[in-house]
């Protein structure tokens, strides 16, 4: 492939890689079920309570009673939609782009919901992302994949919804994706990320601990228990802390030699991080290996957005969108 073709292949790889990872994690079906009627989701919660009460280990999975079944097919969910939204709005001033979401029926991480409240209250960036109980989550790191493929600085975007490790995670993801899109291999991409992660921060400490743990384990799947022990906050976690998900993605990408088909399944095995670590891992390895290296069945399943978080994106084709915008 020529330089331009490689670049285009890697840009598509980063975006579709994120969507594939997003689809591979178990939480995707929960997010996609948001498209079902509230009473249907209430039945799900009641079945969950039933299983608890009757001491049965048959856990309910999302189901469709008099509801369309398409949302329950394998497919992308929240992270792919927020990445698409970022590509579509990347030229707009960031706080203004978020303000346009006010009053719309959107679903988002706690950091984003709180930032939207802050903006409505007149609290501007960076305070909108800082005065925020989930300033540390990876909402901005997911969006940073868009800035990475565009070769732009993700900071203004990140500061709207995040602070601290949340912003560092965004800078690291954008740098890694940009390095890979520019032709770097996974080692070069991860080195570019580490430049943004000081060792005295939780995310910087965890990134180095995760890379060592994965190196000792030898390969991505073998590294899963070691990453669980090194990274996971078993006391309390929403699973989307940038200080956990970004280091997991960096470590698994390296351990898999940049191969998406080995890194993403391992990330999906970290159950507590399965909402976004597979998506970030998919973006990194998709950028390193390119679109052509992603199995066709996964591309077919992951390219069409469901609209479960941003309803106006329902039906949007992610590959078309990437070719138009990036």
């Amino acid at each position: 492939m020529s330089g331009d073709r490689i670049r285009g292949d890697r840009i598509r790889g980063a975006v579709i890689g994120l969507a594939v990872g997003d689809a591979a994690g178990w939480p995707a079906s929960r997010h996609r079920a948001a498209l079902h009627a509230p009473w249907s989701r209430r039945l799900h919660r009641e079945l969950d309570a039933f299983a608890e009460e009757h001491r049965v280990t048959t856990l309910p999975v999302p189901f469709a009673l008099n509801q369309p079944t398409a949302p329950l097919a394998a497919g992308p969910s929240d992270d792919a939609e927020w990445l698409a939204w970022t590509l579509l709005t990347a030229d707009r001033p960031r706080a203004a782009a978020f303000r346009e979401l006010a009053g719309q029926d959107v679903r988002a991480r706690i950091s984003v919901r709180t930032a939207l409240d802050n903006l409505a209250r007149g609290v501007e960036p960076p305070a909108s992302g800082h005065d925020n109980p989930h300033h540390f989550d990876d909402a901005a790191a997911v969006r940073a994949v868009a800035f990475g493929v565009l070769g732009r600085d993700p900071e203004d975007d990140a500061l709207v919804t995040n602070a601290g490790d949340g912003v560092l995670g965004a800078r690291a993801m954008a740098a890694a994706v940009a390095a890979a899109v520019a032709g770097g291999d996974v080692t070069r991409a991860v080195a570019a990320a580490l430049e943004h992660l000081p060792a005295d921060t939780a995310i910087g400490h965890n990134a180095r601990a995760a890379l060592s743990a994965a190196e000792r384990a030898g390969d991505a799947f073998a590294a899963v228990p070691a990453l669980d022990a090194a990274l996971l906050d078993h006391v309390y976690s929403y699973g989307v802390g940038a200080a956990q998900t970004v280091p997991a993605a960096l470590a698994l990408a390296v351990a898999a030699g940049g191969d998406l088909t080995r890194a993403v399944p391992a990330a999906a095995c970290l159950a507590a991080l399965a909402d976004s670590a597979p998506a970030l891992t998919g973006a990194l390895t998709g950028a390193c290996g390119g679109f052509e290296a992603i199995p066709e069945g996964w591309t077919a399943s992951a390219r069409t957005l469901a609209g479960c978080c941003l309803p106006h994106l329902a039906g949007q084709d992610l590959i078309d969108l990437t070719e138009e915008r990036a």
Binding site: T114, D117, D131, P133
Partner: protein, 337 residues
């Protein structure tokens, strides 16, 4: 003139009373609190982690005084708290639990307070009062000392919340006017912080409220609603956010004119982390008004702590902790510090 000893006793009695009064109202909405109690004025049961951790903080100060460092606090966790945690750690917040995990993994402060996701917890603010007692009239030193404690278990705004409360108590220990107590809290946190923004917004709500606004039921409900609108985070499922709890507590302190009963009963009517909000409002107003300012019927309900949350402090009474801190101040005067 009210002595430091009297203010120290008022401060920790007020803290324990606010903690105990607010405990049954934690995480309830103001409307639900009104439905259950009207105004919650009588202590129903014992205190919680707020009081036990404050007693522990007082013991750290008694031992190390102005030489307290984060490393010494971490050593105390390792020697006195962790060995006694044999099963679930009851009553502790996520920040303390996450810190213990970090210490067990061999990390040292400040990373121990950074690697968990609850750096902004009000766990430091709830136990900050002893640092203010120990530094009467010196909010900056009180803030410096409480930060050493905070570096072990918190980060960012959680440390700032502790600094603000310690600074407020240090000012209240000298009988400052309520507005000046809140100014002292703001003087020890950066202007460009969530804590400062929340405290200023809450203070402005109270200042703008009509005179007598907290006495009539309708006016008081309006003030509760306006304070929630000003500082409460809506889309987060827990309530232990230091910027929010500290702002609500200092607002209650102002709304109650610095009087213990008025401040604490209003504080716990706000719901959210009601025991901690009550404890902070009680500590600051208790330091200002002294032991006699705490209603006798509340003081009579304060027993030695049970050690449910921190076994190492079981059997200690807040008044003994207060007396020891006051003894330390007297020693310093003798030594001519």
């Amino acid at each position: 003139m009210t002595s430091y000893r009297d203010r120290a006793r008022g401060c920790l009695l007020g803290l324990a009373a606010g903690d105990a009064l607010g405990a049954p109202a934690e995480n309830l909405t103001p409307a639900e609190i009104r439905r259950r109690w009207g105004r919650l004025t009588e202590i129903e049961g014992g205190g919680t982690d707020d009081t036990e951790y404050a007693v522990f903080a007082a013991s750290l100060l008694r031992r190390h005084g102005h030489g307290l460092t984060a490393a010494l606090v971490a050593a105390a966790y390792r020697d006195e708290i962790i060995p006694r945690v044999t099963g679930p750690m009851r009553g502790a917040g996520f920040s303390e639990l996450g810190t213990i995990e970090a210490l067990r993994r061999g990390l040292e402060p400040p990373l121990t307070g950074r690697v968990h996701s609850h750096g902004w917890s009000d766990g430091l603010a709830m136990r900050a009062a002893p640092y203010g007692i120990f530094c009467p009239g010196d909010p900056a030193e009180a803030a410096r000392l409480v930060e050493q404690d905070g570096l072990v278990s918190g980060s960012g705004e959680g440390i700032l919340g502790g600094r603000a409360v310690a600074g407020a108590v240090a000012a209240a220990m000298t009988g400052a006017a309520p507005e000046d107590v809140v100014r002292a809290a703001l003087s020890v946190v950066p202007d460009d912080s969530w804590t400062a923004r929340a405290v200023r917004r809450a203070r402005d709500v109270v200042t703008r409220a009509p005179q007598g606004g907290t006495t009539g039921p309708a006016g008081e409900d309006g003030l509760v609603e306006a304070l929630h609108e000003a500082v409460v985070v809506r889309h987060y499922p827990w309530t232990d956010l230091a910027p929010e709890a500290v702002a609500l507590a200092l607002a209650a302190f102002l709304a109650g004119g610095g009087e213990v009963e008025a401040a604490v009963t209003f504080a716990v009517s706000l719901g959210r982390d009601a025991d901690t909000i009550g404890a902070i409002a009680g500590a600051v107003s208790g330091a200002l008004r002294g032991e006699a300012g705490v209603p006798a019927r509340w003081a009579a309900r304060i027993a030695p702590v049970t050690g449910t949350c921190l076994p190492v402090v079981a059997g200690r009474h807040v008044l003994d902790a207060a007396d020891e801190l006051a003894d330390g101040l007297a020693d310093e005067l003798v030594e001519g510090r």
